[in-house]
């Protein structure tokens, strides 16, 4: 599984209220949620983001509420992966459960700028920056069953496919 896309940068403690404000979670429609994704951080994010783009963030990404609307909104907005220094635990589980690939990378954040292109190789456990001076960052590879789970679109679809 290789993902390649443009970087959107956010800082530390990106919370689920920022990813999808509570005023929109009276719906669970992915397209509706996507239209308001990251709105309070950048009101035009949903318009600017392109399918395949990648979010790069600091510590504790996804902290706050347990709303699965957060990974759903990111995925439906076209975000192909989130790479952060660390993740809050509920978001970590929910991201995989909803089929949104996420990766921990300790030093990538400082090395990339918004708009840079990066390539994530989930099988080999490697992130490579694109451009004149490519840099390589080791990440924990995603094991085969998790890759299948992501390909299926989440935990439940994966379980059904296997049963």
């Amino acid at each position: 599984m290789k993902l390649s896309g443009k970087v959107w940068k956010f800082g530390d403690h990106v919370n689920t209220d920022l990813i999808i404000p509570a005023r929109y979670i009276n719906s669970s429609d992915p397209d509706f949620l996507a239209a308001h994704c990251m709105e309070d951080a950048d009101p035009d994010f949903a318009k600017k983001v392109r399918p395949g783009d990648i979010i790069v963030a600091g510590d504790n990404f996804g902290c706050g509420s347990s709303r699965e609307h957060a990974p759903i909104a990111l995925k439906a907005a076209g975000i192909a992966a989130v790479v952060a220094r660390s993740f809050a635990r509920i978001f970590y589980r929910s991201a995989f459960n909803t089929g949104l690939p996420i990766f921990e990378a300790s030093t990538l954040y400082e090395a990339v700028r918004e708009g840079d292109e990066i390539e994530v190789d989930a099988e080999r456990g490697l992130i490579v920056t694109r451009g004149r001076d490519p840099q390589r960052f080791a990440i924990e590879p995603i094991p085969p069953f998790m890759r299948e789970l992501i390909a299926a679109g989440g935990l439940m679809a994966y379980l059904k496919r296997r049963s």
Binding site: H13, S27, E68
Partner: protein
């Protein structure tokens, strides 16, 4: 080797003699909880997996509390999905309308969440039940769906962090201040993935309301769960409420902890968390003059009867400052009724407050008190993220109910001692 209370509860539910931090286990759940925001997605996932029957209709608990009474058509549709599911599966514990309260206040009050339980809920503040001596943690909707279907879920056994509380809290310092102080010390990811275990001589003096407020906010430090070993206070709270048998666990003397934090609560003053992180905490004496537009007393952190009594004690015979709105939301129907019977509603109404039916609404900017651009609120809630209570340009300051009430009266962030002739009810 000894085990912590968290490890013992997990081991018991995984059918093992022993578990240790880092161990992945599959464990049986006693309660699987969802509400009107998270349950509809869980129900969809449940069906996606081909689910036809919940694992135990007594153990799946659904509460309509977030955008209820239904604030708009979208919310009404969400609640309908949940109500239809509850009816189809003949759930014992479905709460809506006059039966519904804020889930994390309702479940302990109704004796549904009990000591020794393993509880998962699709709400981050599910950790509240740790106050009773349960292992309780928030999960996403898909995990809830798996739990509703199978009655089991996988966990990584967390490392435990021991918080030793000593001393006697000064007047106006409550559980809320102790947990805010701790979050201020360790940061919003200072307990990431860990169990926060509260021990020490000061614990015996903490009421169940204080403990519930503290366990409620451990997630704001990134913790997986917070826990208090059951004692006489727990037994008093639980014995007439419990709807089934329960078990009190305690940590072994030789249990292992990843870290130990000692706090003398006699040195803490009331705490205020400034925007936009719960860790952005200052002691009340260092707050300065901050004018406010709204005060909210309620939520799963501080919407209990003790909180309302405390606020009413200060509001009695006083009025809310001009151009300041005070919103009081009793967390459950039982609290609502008792507060009314005790005359607290008269005090609130005379002071100029508005009283809402039980709902989470105001805490998360859902309804019942949304903030405009540039407005500031003092709230007895647990989160002050950007846009948490409304417009992204608004600000939320977290505080205890006494500080909230005094602030409403003075129109700025203030402590009860600044009011003339203060007395406790």
């Amino acid at each position: 080797m000894g085990m912590t209370i968290t490890e013992k509860i997990l081991a018991a539910h995984a059918g093992r003699e022993e578990v240790h931090p880092g161990m992945l286990i599959n464990a049986r759940v006693d309660i699987a909880l969802g509400h009107d925001v998270t349950a509809p997605i869980a129900i969809e996932e449940f069906r996606k997996a081909g689910g036809r029957k919940v694992f135990d209709r007594r153990k799946v608990v659904l509460v309509a509390d977030h955008f209820t009474p239904n604030k708009d058509i979208k919310s009404a549709q969400q609640v309908k999905i949940m109500r239809d599911f509850a009816r189809e599966h003949r759930l014992d514990h479905y709460y809506e309308g006059g039966k519904a309260g804020i889930c994390h206040v309702l479940l302990p009050e109704q004796g549904i969440a009990l000591p020794g339980d393993l509880i998962v809920g699709a709400d981050s503040h599910t950790c509240t039940y740790g106050a009773l001596g349960a292992f309780a943690t928030g999960v996403g909707s898909t995990d809830l769906a798996a739990a509703m279907l199978t009655g089991e879920l996988w966990f990584r056994t967390p490392e435990s962090m021991k918080i030793v509380l000593t001393g006697k809290p000064p007047k106006w310092v409550s559980g809320k201040d102790i947990i805010l102080y701790i979050i201020g010390r360790i940061g919003v990811d200072g307990a990431a993935y860990r169990a926060m275990e509260f021990t020490g001589a000061a614990v015996a003096e903490l009421s169940m309301a204080d403990r519930l407020a503290m366990a409620n906010m451990v997630v704001e430090a990134g913790a997986k769960n917070g826990i208090f070993a059951p004692d006489a206070v727990t037994e008093d709270y639980v014995k007439y409420r419990a709807e089934r048998d329960y078990l009190g666990w305690a940590s072994d003397p030789d249990a292992r902890y990843a870290s130990v934090l000692e706090i003398d609560v006699s040195e803490i003053e009331p705490q205020v968390a400034f925007p936009h992180l719960p860790s952005n905490v200052k002691g009340l004496s260092k707050v300065g003059s901050i004018k406010i537009d709204q005060v909210f007393i309620g939520s799963c952190t501080n919407g209990r009867l003790e909180d309302l009594r405390l606020a009413a004690g200060l509001l009695r015979g006083r009025e809310v400052a001009p151009f300041v709105r005070l919103i009081v939301i009793p967390a459950t129907p039982e609290i609502y009724r008792t507060a009314m019977a005790e005359g607290l509603f008269d005090i609130f109404l005379d002071a100029g407050a508005v009283i809402s039916p039980p709902t989470c609404g105001a805490c998360l900017g859902g309804h019942m008190g949304v903030l405009a651009d540039g407005e500031r609120a003092v709230a007895t809630t647990n989160r002050n993220f950007v846009g948490r209570m409304g417009h992204p340009g608004s600000e939320v300051y977290l505080a205890n109910p006494a500080v909230a009430a005094a602030s409403a009266i003075l129109g700025r962030i203030a402590g009860p001692d600044e009011l003339k002739g203060v007395h406790k009810l």
